[in-house]
Amino acid sequence: MTMRHPPLSDAALGIWPAYRRDVYGILVVFAASIAGYFMFPDSLALLTRIVSIALLVLSLDLVVGFCGVATLGHAALYGIGAYAAGIVCLRAGITDPFLLVTIGAGAGAGAGLVMGAVLLRTHGLPQLVLSIAFVQLVQEGANKASAYTGGSDGLAGMMPAPIFGMFAFDLWGRSAYLFAIFLLVVVLAILAVVARSPFAMLCRGAKEDPVRVEALGVSIRPVLLRMYAISGAIAGVGGALGMLATQVVGLDGVSFELSANSLVMLALGGVGSLYGALGGTVAFMMVEHMVAAINPFHWMTVIGGLMIGVVLVAPRGLAGGLDDLQRRMFGRNSETRR
């Protein structure tokens, strides 16, 4: 390497400076998840569900935050991953958890390509409407194809094999939660690489100004479609994890409601920031859990109030708010990169 000039960015300095913050971030997430294991041994099912939904919200962030797609139908990809893993487990006798997650990822990626091909034809309001139509169609399809999906009763009776043949998905949900942490860490590591790639820079560019990206000599559609496939794969992993942990797949997994909630979680945490997506999911689901226990009818009111508060105080979400707070307390940070 012949550098006769100061480095243009942290990434120019080498692998460690480029990914240092990601490594720290993943370590913090890992430590917090493990702490959850010991602090809330009776709530591992809830924690596993949070991770499963967090994967959906992370995946949503890839298309909303990085590519500027407007979608209220993203749970379609999550649900398709869950159904694919569930159906294969039940019908084809494939029970290895890693294989089932891979199948969920593949189904999600395929569905992501289809959904992307549909949604990327338009943008703005028509795109939003198409996304809702898409998830409704998938849900109706799942409802009608009851021979495979169990219709409105859902799928049940899946018997995934123990992880490595040793750790069964037991009643206490310990294996499931540790498996969830493993998947989360792997997904975060993959996303750290993706998010710092030339490809992700192009997606960000396409979000801001598609005409400029084409004038740079890059076709936008194939780039965004690829991001949609990656996003679908991660949503599919989330869905497959949900199937493994609960051994149930229902129509609520492919619902408009879950799609809308995941968008609320993303907005709450901060669009475009992977750790914001995680934080938003945890905050939303914790509040949901606690308030629902106290008053099952009004938890949505509390979420609504929380959303309004976040929008007023920190319009860029929890992650953006923390960013601003840090800047206010420690002055402008000298780095120019995200």
């Binding site: 243009l8 080498g14 690489v193 960000r204 801001e208 100004d209 004038a215």
Partner: protein
């Protein structure tokens, strides 16, 4: 001299308004052509038509012997037909270095890689640094574009264009919106453009045009009324009648 870029009979109407009528221009390697004309004459539209942002109603566009009339913008850019924008179009959250590196990666065919680190290609970094440094953006290249002066943003537009290593470069008012104290920097950058590059520059500043151009073309109400030596443009009766007669009143912007 054989033409590197040949635009023949390009026509475009918006509704009833014909914005480009049968416009033809030829460029040889190394050409320095200025395109002038009052506001709304159709100069930007001409650039949009030949670069593929707009589809012409009629006409033929040939680049380096290939008919590119039906190719999209991306295909034209990759063949070496590059433009800058009259109103800067940059990504506010990215640095000038990011923009130029991205362009160089595109040229190398690496812009869409997923399993690579953006900014980790030292050859691309070195080249980006050289381009930006030569344009006097040494101090600004690591700051977000949204935080640097507009004059510097105009230079970033030029830096991107150079990073493409184009065959034909179309500059849409490169000095528009730049403080007059910064215009010399743009002009110096224009002087240093590769000698074999064919350049079309749109501008209103007649001093800048006269210093830069070896040839001047005049577009009035969508029609090319003059295409010849700078010394003759002021003497041309059609130009005087249609354009220069009112030049003193024409505003500088848009």
């Amino acid at each position: 001299m054989s033409a590197i870029f040949d635009v023949a009979g390009v026509t475009k109407s918006f509704g009833g308004l014909t914005v480009n009528r049968d416009v033809s221009m030829r460029f040889a390697a190394g050409d320095r052509v200025a395109l002038i004309g009052p506001n709304g004459a159709g100069k930007t539209t001409f650039v949009n038509l030949v670069t593929g942002q707009l589809v012409p109603d009629a006409g033929r566009i040939v680049l380096a012997g290939d008919d590119i009339t039906r190719l999209d913008t991306v295909a034209r850019v990759t063949r070496g037909l590059v433009r800058t924008f009259q109103v800067t179009r940059l990504f506010a959250d990215m640095t000038p270095a990011d923009h130029v590196v991205m362009t160089i990666l595109r040229r190398m065919g690496n812009a869409t890689r997923i399993l690579a680190r953006f900014g980790g290609d030292s050859a691309a970094n070195d080249e980006a640094y050289e381009i930006l440094d030569a344009l006097g953006l040494g101090d600004a290249m690591r700051r977000k574009v949204g935080e640097i002066a507009y004059g510097q943003q105009r230079l970033v537009e030029l830096a991107i264009a150079l990073a493409h290593r184009p065959k034909v470069l179309l500059l849409d008012e490169p000095a528009a919106g730049v403080a007059s104290s910064d215009v010399p920097r743009i002009e110096r950058a224009l002087e240093r453009l590769p000698p074999t590059l064919a350049v079309l520059m749109i501008d209103h500043d007649m001093d800048l045009v006269m210093r830069f151009a070896k040839r001047v073309a005049v577009l009035v109400a969508g029609e090319l009324v003059f295409d010849g030596a700078p010394a003759d443009v002021a003497r041309d009766a059609k130009v005087r009648e249609a354009y220069l007669g009112s030049y003193g009143h024409a505003s500088r912007d848009a």
